[in-house]
Structures are given as C-alpha cells and as structure tokens.
Amino acid sequence: MENKKIEVQNLKLHYLTSKGAVHGLDDVSFSLNRGETLGVVGESGCGKTTLGTALLVMPTPPGKIIGGKILLDGNNILKLNEKQIRKKVRWEKISMVFQGAMNCLTPVYTIKKQMLETIRYHRGEIPENKALQRIKKYINLVGLADNIIDRYPHELSGGMKQRVVIATGLFLEPEVIICDEPTTALDVVVQAQIINLLKKLKQELEVSFVFITHDLATEAEISDRIMVMYAGKVVEIGSNEQIYGSEGGTHPYTRRLMGATPRLHKDVEKLEFIPGVPPDLLDPPSGCRFHLRCLEAMDKCYKEVPPLKEIEPGHQVACWRCY
C-alpha cells in the first residue's frame, strides 16, 4: 500500500471539440510503485500521450479532465489549484521527458539559461554556483560534456537534445518521470545509448518511470510492468514476463500486438496484422471497444463493457473471454 507512488482511479479525459466530445481517456485505472518502470503501449491514438499529459494535470487543449482521481502519495492532485500544482507537483514530484525533443527547448535561450530558470523557480534564489553544480552533475550523468550548457538548442544533434531533455527532467530529482516516446525520433545506435542510460538511472536513482511508447522492443527492455491501452481504455496490465512471455499476453489485442512483432529467436513464417482501424473516439463503439476488430468477439462483447479484473497476481485484463 505504502509502496504505491501513484494510483490512478477511473480517470476520464475528454477533448471538447466543436464537433463534440472526443473520449481521450475513459475509466483508466492503474498504479505505479516506487522504483518501478511501468511501460504503456498501444497504437497511435490509443491515449498513451494523453495519459502522460494528464498525469501532469496539463491536458492538451481542448482537453479537460472530467472525472476520476490521481493519487500521488495518497493525495488527489486533481483537487489542487493550478498554482499549487505548478509549484509542488510539476517537475518537483512528476516530470516529463517529451516526445520529439526537437522542439522542446526554447530556441532563443541557452541550455544553461533554461535549466537555471527552472531550478530558480522551484528552489528559489539559490546561489548560481550551487545551481550550476547541480545542473552540471546531471548533464554529466546523461553523458554530455559541461560546455553543452552554453549552447543553444539548434547547435545540438538530436541525440544530444534528447539527453538534455532527460537531464532537465531529472535534475530536480522528482520521484516520477514520464517518458513519452523518448527514443522514437532517433536512430538505433543513439536509441540504444539512451535506453542504457535510462536503465542506469533506474538502478542508481530509484525513480519511478512511466515509459510510453509504441515500440514494443524498447518497452520490453526497460519495463517492469506493462500496461496495454486501446481506444482510450486500459485493456491489460501485467509484468514483463506475463505480457511478453511465451504466451504473449492474454487479451486478444495484446496477443495480436505481440504476434505482429517479429522476433529474433522465433521462427516466424508470416507476420500477422490486425485488420481494421482504431475506432473514432468521438463516438466510441458500445461494449468492448476492440470488439469490431477482435476475432474472438462474443455477443456479450458488444453489449457490455468488460471491467479490468485481476486474473492472476499482478495481472489484470479487461476481456469477457479471459476471466
């Protein structure tokens, strides 16, 4: 119980567009323990990034969180006002490493200036040399030289920028770091470096990670537990072994995801794919949202929404077939 860093209960987030409400997240519930890495996987548009921004209570406009709780160390942060969230939650407790670090750094300021600004805002007027000490420590930690901080973002390569973003996410020593596709835009060599770095950090710093990606391979390397999302809902949560293991997951969607991924050690004759397209979240399908593409759909599946139920210790599934 006390081990739970974050607990999300029935989180609902809708995008209020001119055409109507798009169901970004519906009834999302999960928990994140201290020091563990939770991987979040799913197709594009399944709600992974939305979840990331929601955890920072910063839904992308016109999104609005309209229900549920986000408990951080037992306190519901959704109840706090904007100023409190800004000072106490964002970057203090929860930080984020963004997708496509290309544009995450303001192009007109040096790295040093931006990091100083952040630490000054959160820690008050600390003397510059102390601040720089901290900054340099983390810059070095991510494998960059000291003088990087005097550069402007456009002077750095993609990999370097990504590392800077990681350093920025770390240096206030938050307890939870949300990584949203941190390696997607990078080439495989740099990708490997970043993943190793994150693994190292995981060991050394006892930080909890939420690792969002659609790349199942990197997910497998770094996550302790995996959460599979589809169409704004959680369909399966389990340990690395339970999802990636020999059975390849339980939920039909998970299994097809696994099936669609080529393996090095398995002989694969034909790559499977999942027919159809993700549903329109402006008007989500009834019942289980996967039923239109599921080969094992039953009658019940399109009438009633399957709840997330534990089928074995640490393993939850939302599927009528799997209980």
């Binding site: 920072l56 910063m58 992308t60 800004r86 000072k87 939650v89 964002r90 970057w91 203090e92 930080s95 984020m96 963004f98 496509g100 290309m102 544009n103 995450c104 750094l105 303001t106 192009p107 007109v108 300021y109 600004e117 952040t118 805002y121 959160h122 550069r151 402007y152 456009h154 002077e155 750095l156 390569s157 920025t168």
Partner: protein, 346 residues
C-alpha cells in the same frame, strides 16, 4: 561571429545601393541628359546676357565654345555607357546637380541641399508615428493572442480588414474636412504656425501640427500589425517548447512573455520593420496633403514643377533609407534569433 554577420549585411546593402544607383542612372539617362543640356544652355544664355560689348560673331563663337566645354565637363558627348557610369559615380559622390526650378530655404539650387533639409521633418513625423504604431500594435496583438477567437480578437481582426485597402491620404482629406474646416480643432497643414513661436511654445506648436497627421496614420496603421503579431504569437504558442515550459512548472506570465514572446520576437520584429518600410511609400503622398514640409511634400512639388533632378535626388535618398532599413532589419533579426547569431550545428 555576429560581428561578421553585421559587416556582411552592411556591405551587401551598400553594394546593392551602388548597383541600384547605376540602374537608375541607366533608366533615367535620356531625361537627365536633356535636363542637363537645357540647363547648360540656360546658363550660357545667362552669361551671354552680360556680354554687352561683344559683337554677334564673338557671342556666337563664345557660345559654341562654352557649350562644348561644358558638354565635355559633364561628359555629355561621351558614349552612353560612359555617361551612365559617370553620372552614377556623381550621384554616389553626392553631386546631384542643380534643380531646374526649386531652391532650398536659403536659395541654393544644389539638389543635395534641397533634399537633405527635408529629411528632418519626415523623420520627426514618421519616427513618432512609428513608435506609437509599434507599441499599440504589438500590445494589442499580444492581447488578442491571449484569447484567440474572443470578441476582442474577432472584432479587431475585422477592423484590420476594413481599413486594409484604405489610402491614408484619403482619410487625411476627410479628417481635414471634418476637423479643420467643419469643427476647427487642428491647423490645416504645415509644420508650424506663422510667425513661428519661440522656445517651449515652438515644441507645443509642432505637436499641435503633428497631431492630426499622426492621428490619421494611426487610425489605419496599427491594426495590421496587431493582427500579424497575434498570428505569430498564436503560432508560436502552439510550439512544443511552450508546453514544455509549462510542464516545468513555470508561471504562465513567464511562459507567455519570457518564452513565447521572446521566441516570436524575430518574426514580429521583421514584420514590424518591414511594414514600416512599406508604409514609407504611402506616407510620401500623405505629407503632401498636410503640407508637411518633408520629403514626401518635396515629391509633390517636384512633380508639379517637373523638376527632374530633385526627383532623382529624392529617389536616391529614399532608396538609401529603404535599404538602410532593410539592413537594420536583417541585423536586428540576426541578433534576436540565435540560430543566426551563433550559427548552425557543430
């Protein structure tokens, strides 16, 4: 690094100026020649008038000789290209010849002097207007950007479009009809009353005369700037680094101004200076309506008197100012955008 950039821009600007002067010289070649010839004839004629004791033959010979000499001095007998070249050189050396009709305030016929003394009034009027225009425009634009789609945003955008095609000089005519003749508040024109007052009263007097022109210009001016500022800022605010700054817990004001406005500054400044430069063109006509004794007014007078040398002198000056403005713009942009200031990837 940045210093080199400045030097490059300035150099290129000067080079452009030189090229353009040569272009002007070529285009206006024929006209300038004719003007010069007739001026020479006039001058020689004047000299002859004073030669009362010479015989007609002597006068004839004198005239021919004189004309020959003068033609040679001004390269009028040279082939075309050479003439073009020499004239361009002359212009660059600020030797702009004599005006056909006009004189400067102390009677000089030197085109350069005539033009130069008109620069100050134009600069004064235009400078003050520019400061006001930019300030109001950018502030309004920022306000609009904070709540895009709001009533303020939409109504001011409509205003922008309404005045978009309105000539400033036309509005000037109307305002004069209303505020000078119908409800006499402002003076009808000129830069100062006659007789000119002294000391502090002179300053007030100038302001009094500047009021209506500036008011007129403002009515049309700042809307477009506000609209574009708003667009640029809205565009910038959608960038990832804004969200990133917010996520880092920075207060909204800091995000909007420190990151948003600062990052949007280069295009805003560019657009700002650019539009000011473009508007120079309209203002020239505008001055004439108010009889404001600046360069624009001089254009009017020179056109009416068909004084070509003055027109060309004006053209050279205007072009120079314009180019200087462009160079200035490039430099400022480079300064604000580190991508240029510091250069590309390592």
């Amino acid at each position: 690094m940045f210093g080199r950039y400045i030097v490059k821009r300035v150099f290129f600007m000067l080079l452009s100026f030189v090229i353009i002067i040569f272009l002007y010289s070529a285009i206006f070649n024929v006209v300038m020649d004719q003007t010069l010839r007739s001026q020479i004839h006039e001058m020689v004629q004047g000299e002859i008038m004073g030669m009362t004791d010479s015989t007609p033959q002597e006068i004839q010979i004198y005239r021919e000789q004189r004309i020959q000499t003068l033609y040679a001095r001004y390269h009028l007998e040279d082939p075309t290209l050479q003439r073009i070249f020499w004239r361009a050189v002359g212009i660059l050396k600020l030797d702009w010849g004599q005006a056909s009709m006009l004189t400067s305030s102390n009677g000089s016929r030197d085109v350069f002097k005539i033009v130069v003394e008109k620069i100050y009034p134009t600069l004064l009027l235009f400078g003050i207007f520019a400061i006001l225009d930019v300030t109001i425009g950018v502030l309004l634009g920022m306000k609009k950007a904070q709540k895009p789609g709001s009533k303020l945003d939409q109504s001011t955008s409509i205003m922008t479009m309404v005045v978009f095609g309105m000539p400033s000089w036309w509005l000037a005519m109307i305002f004069i009809m209303i505020f000078v003749y119908t409800i006499p508040i402002f003076p009808s024109g000129g830069m100062g009353s006659v007789p000119p007052p002294e000391g502090f009263a002179a300053i007030i007097d100038t302001i009094y005369h500047m009021a209506l022109p500036i008011l007129t210009l403002l009515c049309i001016g700042f809307w477009a700037r506000a609209y574009m500022t708003r667009n640029i800022v809205v565009g910038t605010l959608q960038e990832d680094f804004i969200m990133s700054a917010r996520a880092r817990g920075l207060p909204e004001k800091k995000v909007l101004y420190g990151h948003g406005l600062r990052a949007a500054a280069p295009p805003i400044v560019t657009m700002g200076v650019m539009s000011l430069l473009m508007s120079i063109q309209g203002r020239l006509i505008f001055e004439g309506i108010f009889n404001w004794p600046g360069m624009g007014n001089l254009y009017w007078i020179a056109v009416q008197q068909n004084d070509i040398p003055v027109l060309l002198g004006l053209l050279a000056t205007t072009t120079f100012v314009y180019l200087a403005g462009l160079a200035f713009l490039d430099v400022i942009y480079g300064f604000l955008d580190p991508r240029i200031k510091v250069g590309g990837k390592q």
